[in-house]
Symmetry: C2
């Protein structure tokens, strides 16, 4: 039986999203700062940016590699897939190009009815209008003995955490203060009491905190 897993990048003040996007700079500078150490890893350079042999090794890369291991299905919110940024655009296929780095079935939680998207490399996007619990049941069935990853965004993750449905939460905390955005740590009082919590610091300065049960 697989586990339900979450991996997120957070700022030290607990924000999982950034707010400095502008028409001129559609991703903003904060996102780059938030994910810099993660993007710099060999795993991400190879799997997402197509640069084999490039990138950092060590602790940050260990977590990045683990992110992709043993996952049989993913659940993400409509915002993470890009439906909020691209409303009513049937040609939108997500941020990741024709060959997304997932390689597994992905369930996108949305009120929008859209046909299933079969992408290259094994990624299939299913657009589902079910509750988080029903969606998880379907994802677990799809994943079989492998894990289900709750990919994001922050609000979807928080809903799964608050419902007690996550077995392993890993946050990579960048030592920066964003001051605004979506906070992960809200309404999660005593969340840690059902988990073992371990932490370690990478040479990049990223603080890796893992809740597992």
């Amino acid at each position: 039986m697989g586990q339900v897993r979450v991996d997120l990048n957070l700022s030290l003040d607990g924000y999982a999203t950034t707010t400095d996007q502008t028409p001129e700079d559609p991703f903003g500078k904060d996102w780059d700062r938030l994910v810099a150490a993660y993007v710099a890893t060999r795993t991400m350079q190879e799997r997402v940016f197509g640069r084999p042999g490039k990138g950092t090794t060590g602790l940050d890369d260990d977590y990045a590699a683990a992110y992709f291991e043993g996952v049989g299905a993913e659940i993400m919110g409509a915002g993470m897939f890009g439906l909020h940024a691209h409303p009513d655009d049937p040609s939108w296929q997500g941020w990741w190009g024709p060959n997304p780095p997932f390689g597994i079935p992905v369930f996108v939680l949305t009120h929008e009815q859209r046909p299933t998207l079969e992408m290259e490399g094994g990624t299939t996007f299913h657009f589902v209008q079910t509750s988080i619990e029903e969606t998880l049941a379907r994802a677990k069935e799809t994943a079989g003995d492998l894990d289900v990853r709750i990919g994001g965004g922050a609000r979807v993750v928080k809903a799964y955490l608050a419902a007690g449905l996550v077995d392993r939460l890993h946050v990579g905390i960048a030592p920066i203060l964003l001051g605004r955005g979506e906070r992960l740590w809200e309404d999660l009082r005593e969340f840690e009491q059902d988990y073992e919590v371990t932490s370690e610091v990478a040479p990049s300065g990223t603080i890796h905190v893992t809740f597992s049960r």
Copy 2:
């Protein structure tokens, strides 16, 4: 010339204060959980609880020992001294008994006029009605070549941090989620940009993060 320093215990969700105090349990359980690793150190056991030779050694104790080293004056808020909990009580002398663990002049920021309190062991409480800047100038003059510590509470610390008056901020982050209280990380966007940030994890699970300039 000394530095201006802050040391605080924080929860992973960024709270520096706890909210579960009741008439039956006037300190609450959260505070004990927040400061458990700090209170357990040899330094705290010796200096605050009068138990020489007891307590943990290692990283947590290194930070606890550093807390007391090289400080020539302290600034604290009225709440930390206990004036909010004991209003209009001229006999109130703080939480720490006749021999407080400071051993230095302490400037208490308050609107209340109170006579200076000379305690045992070198602690003197001065009650000042000046701005945070004026109070810091006076504390620096008192400290001479030694450091000034901003002791707390969280609101006083935040005012000094936001004003750019702190040279070194150390937070000991306990891996617990309180869900409510006074947040340290508010309105401090990009605070880290004027500092070098280092982090390390103690065997207790406490994540020590230090901003220095």
